[in-house]
């Protein structure tokens, strides 16, 4: 198989494990390219990609832009704060305006779950979901799994605990779908109020004690508290959260094994993750960032192949 089964990447839910393996193999090649003195390949020459971000983003946007430029694509960027996008017509109009400039692919981040699905029904370009509200963030999950594979040799059979604000996280859902498709066991851990009530229906283990989660797992993926998406109070204070759900080195020292620490960033240092862990030898956080470019190159390259 040398092509993806879909012409869009809307979510991990919609792709197959073969698709994921193909993305990984392609990313392996691009990672090698990224370590060359000349890091650019002409694969997407003549392809124009629009990065349309209706929500703030620094690292994801930068990572996509770098991936696009490494592939020699032409890149246009559009950013708009969420407050100026109140109506769907704005989304459609904005994207149609950009497409009328003969754009081939759209990378979109939006605060509404399903916004890229809505778009995919209304425009002809390939769409890459760069995060849709609390739904999915597929390239983050791919780069997370790719990083686990790189560090531990394989994802299958590994135990991965996703710790933190699961309710408001698009990373959590995509990670659960991706890791399960690759044969890993997944646990979610956090305060009951920050876990979707029916999360166990996804076949994950549910835990509320972080120390127990750390003792169980091979990999701990710590998620950020999404204060900007919490319209109502879910826990008493950040202080209490950091005391009972934050991860620090002391906790890791009590374990009788070494575990891998991941975080999709940006880190609220001292809240969900202490610096003594984020910057320790356990952490592969910066590898995740590096792998993000290779994964995004792979996704864009493969989607261009099914245009």
């Amino acid at each position: 198989m040398s092509q993806l089964s879909s012409r869009h990447l809307l979510g991990i839910k919609d792709i197959t494990s073969d698709d994921i393996q193909l993305i990984f193999e392609t990313a392996d090649n691009f990672k090698e390219v990224l370590n060359r003195p000349i890091k650019k390949v002409p694969s997407l020459r003549d392809i124009t990609i629009a990065n349309i971000f209706f929500e703030n983003s620094t690292r994801t946007k930068l990572s996509f832009e770098l991936a696009e430029k490494r592939l020699s694509a032409d890149v246009v960027n559009f950013s708009s704060s969420n407050s100026s996008v109140k109506k769907g017509e704005t989304l459609i109009d904005t994207v149609n305006n950009i497409l009328s400039m003969k754009v081939d692919m759209v990378v979109m981040r939006h605060s509404s779950p399903g916004a890229p699905h809505f778009l995919s029904r209304n425009i002809k370009a390939n769409i890459v979901n760069a995060g849709d509200g609390t739904h999915e963030h597929p390239t983050q999950a791919l780069l997370d799994a790719f990083s686990i594979r790189e560090k531990l040799g394989d994802v299958a059979g590994k135990k991965v605990a996703i710790i933190g604000d699961i309710l408001h996280s698009r990373v959590a859902l995509s990670n659960i779908f991706c890791l399960q498709k690759l044969g890993a066991e997944v646990m979610v851990c956090g305060p009951v109020t920050l876990l979707p009530k029916h999360i166990d229906s996804l076949g994950v283990i549910v835990e509320h004690d972080v120390q127990c989660a750390l003792a169980w797992c091979d990999v701990a993926n710590i998620l950020r508290i999404q204060l900007e998406r919490q319209q109502i109070k879910y826990f008493p204070s950040l202080r209490e959260y950091s005391l009972y759900y934050g991860v620090n080195k002391k906790m890791l020292d009590t374990l009788d094994k070494e575990i891998v620490i991941m975080h999709p960033g940006p880190i609220n240092r001292g809240v969900e993750l202490n610096s003594d862990v984020a910057d320790s030898e356990h952490s592969i956080i910066l590898h995740q960032v590096e792998n993000g470019v290779a994964i995004r190159m792979a996704v864009l390259y493969l989607l261009a192949g099914v245009r």
Partner: protein, 414 residues
């Protein structure tokens, strides 16, 4: 104007009767053997058709005044007649809401030419905000007997209690779509496995369950007539069942489309499926069916809520809730007819809603809905009579067509 309807199969809540000839004369429909008329102005072959007493819808909306782009009162009237409804309760949620004498007069003047008999649900509270009461007795003097805030639940229990007490003076009926808005806050769809997979904030059954239970208790305390609209959850059906067994004066209805769709239909983020209450689980649907069978639920409603293209063509969480449901009503019933049988279905749109409205059953009928349960037709922008098209079946081939309606002494053919 004697008209002979030949070989018509009449359905009532008991059974589908054998084909028989019926006569329309003097604003009434009679079996031919009960009339002594021999000459007719018109004879119609109805051998392929089913018929029942004219249908009653307890919940539909127009956009007029204020949002005429969605539906005007005129277009709603045409839709209701074409969809087989002889009576219809229209919700007050226009802009401004129907809440005073002038509003009632405006509504009556606009509906004067309707073939369907309009029944206005006047707002119980000013601007349907759930706080200060409208001039209830004054509205009753205008002929209003049904009160409620339409699409807005009466979430303040004190208001509900006092309303039930106040309405007792004239046996007024309070209609309420009971759910707790705070437990549904920011919710976009039913909270369950599907919402978890879609990363969407859910509306738990709990939002309806606790409110229905509470309102039943308030009804027990006050007496009065409380009608629960558009029930969707299994536990709330149980609450109504228990209340009825205790002899409380409560009744209930369900949207037809709650019986046709579940939360699994939302996986593609199609905003046409965004409704309130949300489409719930298969288990809830099963409980609704049981509720219909054992009489807990009295009526099936269209819950026709038109929304213009621009209110729906957008991201799911920004789209307005609501679905049109009149022209699709019979095709929806056809889909359910095998599971529930025509007599039960017909009872939920004739005798059931009539008893909710306090109308006594009569031996002869002043209205008749005649339909072909087998006719196929294309539901598309051309055939759609609504000014809105917010229904997932647009573009589909549907089965079941209303052919004629007799009401107010007039026979209309479609």
């Amino acid at each position: 104007m004697p008209i002979l309807l030949r070989s018509l199969r009449f359905i009532d809540s008991e059974k589908t009767h054998s084909p028989k000839d019926y006569v329309i004369v003097d604003h009434q429909v009679l079996p031919r053997e009960n009339s002594n008329i021999d000459s007719f102005d018109e004879e119609i072959d109805c051998s392929n058709f089913l018929a029942s007493e004219g249908w009653v819808d307890l919940r539909c909306a127009s956009g007029e005044p204020g949002e005429e782009q969605r539906e005007t009162i005129e277009s709603l009237g045409e839709l209701l007649a074409n969809s087989g409804f002889a009576k219809a309760v229209v919700m007050p949620n226009a802009k401004p809401v129907f809440q005073n004498k002038n509003d009632v007069q405006f509504f009556l003047s606009k509906t004067a030419n309707w073939l369907t008999e309009p029944i206005l649900q006047a707002a119980l509270t000013k601007d349907a905000l759930g706080e200060d009461f409208t001039d209830i007795l004054d509205l009753n003097q205008q002929g209003i007997n049904v009160f409620g805030d339409g699409v807005s639940p009466l979430s303040n229990p004190d208001r509900l209690m006092k309303a039930l007490q106040y309405l007792k003076k004239f046996d007024g009926i309070l209609f309420d779509q009971s759910y707790d808005p705070m437990l549904a806050i920011f919710g976009q769809m039913h909270e369950g496995i599907v919402s978890t997979r879609l990363g969407m904030k859910g509306i738990p059954n709990l939002a309806e369950d606790v409110c229905v239970q509470r309102n039943v208790e308030i009804c027990k305390y006050t007496g009065g007539r409380l009608h629960f609209q558009t029930l969707s959850s299994a536990a709330s059906i149980n609450s109504i069942r228990k209340a009825k067994s205790e002899g409380l004066s409560v009744t209930a209805d369900v949207s037809l489309y709650q019986l046709l769709f579940t939360d699994e239909d939302l996986v593609s983020f199609d905003t046409n499926y965004k409704v309130v209450p949300p489409f719930r689980s298969k288990e809830d649907r099963t409980a609704l069916i049981e509720g219909l069978k054992d009489g807990t639920i009295d009526a099936i409603v269209s819950n026709h809520q038109p929304m213009e293209f621009d209110a729906k063509h957008m991201e799911f969480d920004l789209a307005q809730p609501g679905m049109i449901g009149l022209q699709t009503f019979l095709p929806g019933m056809v889909k359910l007819s095998e599971e529930l049988g025509w007599p039960l279905l017909i009872s939920k749109i004739t005798s059931g809603p009539k008893s909710v409205l306090g109308l006594e059953p009569t031996a002869s009928f002043g209205s008749l809905t005649i339909f072909d349960p087998k006719e196929q037709w294309a539901y598309n922008k051309k055939s759609n009579l609504s000014l809105s098209a917010n229904h997932p079946w647009i573009g589909s081939q549907l089965q079941g067509k209303v052919k004629m309606i007799f009401n107010k002494g007039k026979l209309a053919k479609f």
